[in-house]
Point group: C2
Chain length 411, copies 2
């Protein structure tokens, strides 16, 4: 493991200093190579699929695992799109002249070696490898066990392009020991690895956060709320809350709990009940709500649950303050939204709620690299530092100060 990571670290100096032209050439060749080796990749994916069927994985997981010609075409297109993004390295983030006449530039640079731990979908392998390469980073990938053969095939194809271009193949590596013990070793190698990005279940993220000596950027759960204020515009309410809950209930930016101001609740709850019923949503509700509509009584545990399913908690609150308190207590700091036409209430909510994304009068479903306009995303960071919310390619860079002097010494 150590020798492997030492090689990865060594190659990072080469990768960090590649020109945009070379990086884009290599990425476009990688995109073509995926198409040219479609059959090779599919034949390896078939091994994973038949193992998965033997292990009785459920339909949803099988679907996430499956690669087809169309899906490989989509992976190839994603790499081309990443190649076309603006160069993330070398951006001048800030700059000034000091009283001593030193010319300071704060410049974006690659992070170095990034370990990424993720689950089933094999397209994450090519997406992540391309994002890391474009941003001048070396990646050490640890995919799900169930996608082992697919990930290996994809890595072989991408690494062949690196070799053909006389670049170190270690720049795109799969972790050799992909067991839990392998991960446990990886996250202690702070000498060689600069960042760990765990995407996956809560147990994995907890294990990595608690045991890593390397900085971690978590992609943890999203427990998102919408607060319907007494001054919400009635015409917008139903569309937004239905979109936030029902358009894709299994994703992290979907709403789990709807908070409603007590003064508006009697006027909107019946309409909401009908609209959610049409969507087949299961409603759990607080005692005050249960006086107005029929639903399952909600428990404190329900408020603390990311359903990832078409289930919604509804709670009536006295005012914006109570809504904010509820969000601070149960929210995961992901995406929170207020529906209100009141200037001061909106400002209060946007200022006081501590979350990656706080919305006024929009669905929480927009928390996404694509919807934000950031291009391909590494994921949605639930960290508070370095990267927060949609993690685009610029978040795969850090910075250094370049200081241009003319003989200065310190007094």
């Amino acid at each position: 493991m150590q020798a492997f990571l030492e090689e990865a670290k060594k190659s990072s100096r080469t990768i960090a200093n590649l020109s945009t032209a070379i990086k884009n050439k290599v990425l476009n060749e990688m995109a073509d190579a995926l198409l040219n080796h479609c059959d090779f990749i599919i034949s390896h994916n078939e091994k994973d699929m038949s193992n998965a069927k033997l292990n009785n994985l459920d339909e949803a997981l099988l679907d996430r695992l499956l690669l087809t010609g169309d899906r490989i075409k989509a992976m190839s297109d994603a790499i081309k799109q990443i190649a076309s993004q603006t160069e993330p390295v070398g951006r001048i983030l800030d700059g000034w002249v000091t009283k001593d006449g030193l010319n300071i530039q704060k410049v974006s640079i690659p992070i170095g070696v990034i370990g990424i731990i993720y689950e089933s979908r094999p397209n994450v392998t090519s997406d992540t490898a391309a994002l890391c390469f474009k941003s001048g980073n070396v990646c050490v990938l640890k995919g799900g066990k169930e996608a082992e053969h697919s990930n290996k095939a994809i890595a072989i194809v991408l690494r062949e392009v690196l070799a053909k271009n006389k670049l170190p193949e270690q720049a795109i590596s799969l972790l050799p020991d992909s067991t839990r013990e392998g991960v446990a070793k990886l996250i202690k190698q702070d000498k060689y690895v600069d960042l760990i990005v765990p995407r996956g279940g809560e147990a994995l993220i907890k294990f990595v956060s608690e045991n890593s000596s390397i900085p971690v950027i978590k992609h943890d759960k999203g427990l998102c709320h919408i607060y319907v204020d007494k001054d919400a515009a009635p015409s917008k309410i139903i569309d937004i809350v239905i979109n936030a809950k029902c358009q894709r209930p299994g994703v992290c930016n979907a709403m789990e709990t709807l908070l409603i101001h007590e003064q508006i609740a009697p006027y909107i709850l019946h309409g909401l009940e009908d609209a959610f019923s049409e969507q087949g949503t299961i409603i759990k509700a607080c005692p005050e709500t249960l006086k107005l509509i029929k639903a399952i009584p909600a428990t404190n545990e329900d408020y603390d649950t990311e359903y990832l399913a078409n289930i919604l908690n509804i709670k009536i609150v006295k005012n914006c303050d109570e809504a904010i308190s509820h969000i601070q207590k149960y929210g995961s700091g992901h995406s929170e939204s207020i529906l209100s036409e009141n200037y001061s209430t909106v400002n209060k909510f946007l200022n006081e709620v501590d979350a990656a994304c706080v919305y006024a009068n929009a669905s929480t479903r927009f928390t996404d690299g694509g919807a934000f306009g950031l291009g391909a995303e590494v994921g949605i960071s639930t960290n508070k530092l370095h990267s927060r919310g949609p993690m685009g390619i610029n978040d795969l860079t850090t910075f250094k100060y370049k200081i241009y002097g003319s003989g200065q010494i310190r007094n």
Copy 2:
């Protein structure tokens, strides 16, 4: 410990939302309170001083620990200076409109609860408390055991001002259990603490990095180099390298190893030998250097040592590439400098060396919040992410996205 941190976390919402006017009023009152309670603080400092003498602490440590009227005046002035800095919270860092018409603002916000672990100097207590308060953060301070009474006295004075202004006193807290076990517990409380900043010895920093489940911003050692290229301007060399080594050898941005291009070495080494000899610098040198001047032979271990003393390694290298390789191997990513008038060589060095601060034609001693023009500093971060190099007050903020919609739902 948990109940204590829960209170700290709770108070962070109040502190995060204070106006600039109130924060500055409170800070100026804190500055006055330090002066008004000068005798009280000095009487507590005397207890620490007499304990320290009983424990035979050396002169340098005793001097760092000592508080006098003048030093308390300096602490008071530092708080006033922090109050006068530009508001770090609410800066719009970026902003754009998405294709759906969402107006996105990336806005700086306080980090939350920050745990800071540091050593002897009691002025760090008031400086850090003021920096955290100005940036809307709650601080949990763990100072050195030897400064226990002084730190307590300072905290009492500052907290009294918070109470008088009806603000939660927990906003400035000393860790109740200040033993190593207390620190071990603190760094696992990721539910309540958002950031840990360890400043101090290597053992402490290693322990915190390896065991914290909270993000850590290290203030680790500085093993800094200057590379004298063959195209260095002869008139600048001696002033810069003497400044970098000798002006204050005990600090992290002082030079430890001088790398010299083989073509220029014969012309400058005798001059350097004389200049360093005048400063009483002990020279350790590579075999090639020893052919030209008298010195102690340098070992690989010497290249790996942060002397914090008036000792210097000198090594002759073949070219800029060898200098960069040496720096990548032995440097701590703190501050590195090249002396050269060659445009391409300077660019190569500034681009390829991975360190917080890379200089051309200046002393490494400028890596400092004050010299950078950032105002009071928390320290010099040796992290690669979030904060790198001089950590000013803006580095005590993170960000969130405020998203202004008008009824948008996701397709």
